[in-house]
Symmetry: D2
Amino acid sequence: MSLAIICSGGDAPGMNPAIKKFVDYVYEKGETPYFVFNGLDGLIDGQISPAKHKDVAGIVHRGGAIIRSSRSKRFYEYEYRKKAYENLRKHDISGLVMLGGDGSFRAMDRLSSEFELNFVGIPTTIDNDIYGTDTCIGVDTALNVIRDALDKIRDTASTFSRAFVVEVMGRECGYLAAVSAITSGAEICLIPEAEFNKSVALKHLKKEIAEGRNYILSIVSEGTKMTAELARWLEKEIGMETRITVLGHIQRGGSPTVNDRMLAFEFTVRAVDHLLGSKNSNKVMVIEHGRYGMREIEEVVERKYRIDPELLGMLNLLD
Amino acid sequence: MSLAIICSGGDAPGMNPAIKKFVDYVYEKGETPYFVFNGLDGLIDGQISPAKHKDVAGIVHRGGAIIRSSRSKRFYEYEYRKKAYENLRKHDISGLVMLGGDGSFRAMDRLSSEFELNFVGIPTTIDNDIYGTDTCIGVDTALNVIRDALDKIRDTASTFSRAFVVEVMGRECGYLAAVSAITSGAEICLIPEAEFNKSVALKHLKKEIAEGRNYILSIVSEGTKMTAELARWLEKEIGMETRITVLGHIQRGGSPTVNDRMLAFEFTVRAVDHLLGSKNSNKVMVIEHGRYGMREIEEVVERKYRIDPELLGMLNLLD
Amino acid sequence: MSLAIICSGGDAPGMNPAIKKFVDYVYEKGETPYFVFNGLDGLIDGQISPAKHKDVAGIVHRGGAIIRSSRSKRFYEYEYRKKAYENLRKHDISGLVMLGGDGSFRAMDRLSSEFELNFVGIPTTIDNDIYGTDTCIGVDTALNVIRDALDKIRDTASTFSRAFVVEVMGRECGYLAAVSAITSGAEICLIPEAEFNKSVALKHLKKEIAEGRNYILSIVSEGTKMTAELARWLEKEIGMETRITVLGHIQRGGSPTVNDRMLAFEFTVRAVDHLLGSKNSNKVMVIEHGRYGMREIEEVVERKYRIDPELLGMLNLLD
Amino acid sequence: MSLAIICSGGDAPGMNPAIKKFVDYVYEKGETPYFVFNGLDGLIDGQISPAKHKDVAGIVHRGGAIIRSSRSKRFYEYEYRKKAYENLRKHDISGLVMLGGDGSFRAMDRLSSEFELNFVGIPTTIDNDIYGTDTCIGVDTALNVIRDALDKIRDTASTFSRAFVVEVMGRECGYLAAVSAITSGAEICLIPEAEFNKSVALKHLKKEIAEGRNYILSIVSEGTKMTAELARWLEKEIGMETRITVLGHIQRGGSPTVNDRMLAFEFTVRAVDHLLGSKNSNKVMVIEHGRYGMREIEEVVERKYRIDPELLGMLNLLD
């Protein structure tokens, strides 16, 4: 039996460990692993080839994804989805593992409504915005890259009376920002899920400064588009020189943490096991309260991830 | 009400975030936080003083513990335990949070059988060898420090035909070694919980070498005391020059990971909440399948931690 | 004899090792070390106190500066400079070591023209823009922090067809950007010292893309204010989605590298030796071609640092 | 004209940047670059092939060496040296760049006395034990890897009253140990170049402990073979529990620092330039006081590297 693996959408640290485990484990099960290169665009164009052990030697600690990824516009058109499906058939691939996020799962949900597909999606995104799973491959590494940056800024912050605004990733989901603010002890955190209460923040900061605080650390989700505005507000209202850091794609790089590698291995082994024993099944791997499971793809893409209210509660401690 | 925090036994990254949260949260609750310095020896000697906000400013990213720790021999004698207890009374401390491991909890179990104690232990040890909790403060940081070392060794390993033996911590528990071996793709892993099957390993390695493998990475728990022997075995049986690395206390250092900070915060807040609402309670915080809870201290110290059989199963994939 | 140390202007990694060596070495010489806190503002306000060994214990690996720094506007007025001078007299401080950059040395040059001063400036700035010295304390650490960020971006860059624009520090001096671009193999580098030749760059990039290049890494000095413009240009002319990273104050943080610690030790020992044997001397420590020396402060502040033409030549290899 | 590059002996971080620059620069000069794989053993066996741009894409931040290295016993025999030479002729290779250390240069000195060779050696070893050059490729990265380990140990050291013995590389040369001890503020440093004066050390440590010191950090060169003995001595004479760390090959791994990359680029460009303009020349690249130059290979291999007495002087400050 032939199984294939594909990456889709933004990359996340941990893709390579998942790809390695996929190849090793499929061989262990006596089946044949395939790579789909360059995401859904590659699937449309038939960039598919058998995977070998040596292709995945020494990649477990590399960021990125050796089979590359893409965002495909063509996949929105039926004609190209049909081509993609036919390419899988052509190689007699009976099951597909996809490392991707919400948007990519949506694309596969569409495909599976049109063609017979045996598919497991593995939540892989640093944004942690997928319904039904507590975490995704890449989140832990991204959080620790941000932590390292904040540790560095804190070192220098205490030397000079200044405010710092650090923009982290997260388009519609403030998870990275919230956890980073909590674990680094930031004074301000702006996320898409909550309004920034300026008067409360101002009162709180003025009190802290009166008591001796001499610098301010703020974390902002890129999705709020408030980075520049917050910096101006701090300069004007608090009167501290303010410096901006935009972490950008540093957050997608670096050697995957132990947690992300473990999650990648566990998800992948379970996904392969499922594909080997099923037909026309369309699932997404999840982890909830430390237990692995699967959900129907429609459920995952139809519902919206909501940030844990307890996490938001811990944030309130800051204001 | 006055609550105190104490560190006992070997230190672990994440102690400082727990100490900071303890001070901040006790104040938030309107109560008075105290430090006990230098572990149980300090408790015997009355090294106790009120904690201030500024004592814990900027410590969240520091390894070690600002209130220091110790292993106390005197605490084995009743007379000194009595003195310790009286020192708590003297400062009117009605609840004690201890960051420590198995041995330290055992000491407190003894104390609580002799005197009225309101106590919560927080599992804090990189060994991850405490019954009833899936993980402890410090484990995630230690695993990622080991990962960083193994990533470096792997870089150089592929350049030269050599075998590497890396000794990691873990006296009676092979958790660090096992997870490190799995997530770094080591070829050999020796832990106290499992016998090293030389003939199986030899057959497996010879096959891999015949297929092109040109280096071997092995992880050894210090508790096995097999580091030197394994190196000799590799040189003799495999015929590869072998190099030893003993990571030692590097594994206890470094900035705590996001997971360890979060765990420290969650454990500490719950511990304080419990102490504020209880009397003569002797608990240990635990996390099981992602849910926080508490266990009776007798249960934790009477039973022995067993490594997850599934983890051992993943290791078998290596041989 | 009493000697004091002061930090002025933007902080740089390596200040703490210099401060530690100052205290240890002055004591070793049998004299008394003083701290001036909070830079020139602190000097004006008399924030001066004797330094003790234990003040500098365990600080060698910390970023920032334990005695803090500032930019003083008041120091531009004679009345405040007089006050600053009188504060030094009041404590009977006969020599002053300043860790700072161009602007701070200019301030001291002014002071020394008005009052009798025994002064040594130690070039301390990540910008590396001081005349007469090949490097400054902090430059090596900043370069390696940037390198770490670029290594992470490169990991992810090769997974997705994208362009990256990374803004690094450097107001009037492109040293950090140039060395980072050379050692990370960036395709584009914009610095204040050289005009960006768009047509040459476009031709070069198009050729590379035709030959298979699928991502572009660009480094920009903040002083060029070209970050956003370059990103737009890449999107429009090259047609690659472009992502911006602004490293900001991460570059001032982190544990000082071995080179920066060594430089801090060597500069500080020589500065103290000079102060102990001189009067009304106003010097700046320099290192040229691996040899330590001193220059008159007027010479350093009157002349302008020029980036090594050979370095610019290596950059041209990129276009 | 065809030029080849070869790695020999122990690997060092910075080999990959040198290999990349070699390929890029030889092409830039309009000539043809070759790889010799697996060191001198590979040269004997004719493992030589033309290098392409894409072979060296994205390797600048990788430890190790993509063309691998070896220590060849066969090269001691004339017959194999002859074979090696003939393999170079067969591919019409008129110049050879070797990344290696003392032993490898000795081998090439021998070869060049027997056959006509156009050769430049580039000092590449973390030991920094090559005559005539202030530093070698790999030294700066190794020093910073050691620093990172010592920073971690220091964090934990201050929590518990303990002594730490850290063994670093350096067979006959204590450079790594000495610089690490100086820049990390270690209390004890044992190197092959100096005898360990136990009575002086004991007196010094006892005084420090009396004054409040509660932990001891010691650095030992592996070449002294004193690691275990020092640990026993500390336990017995000082009475502190002592823990050993043997860093091993971690020191050869990790992403090359900016300095090591720059050194690799500068050495390689100069080596290629020289080979293109010379015949039967046998040189070694050096850097002295920040200036690049070349020395005759006989001079380099006949003389012995001596550690800078000033460095030893700075060490004496420790005792």
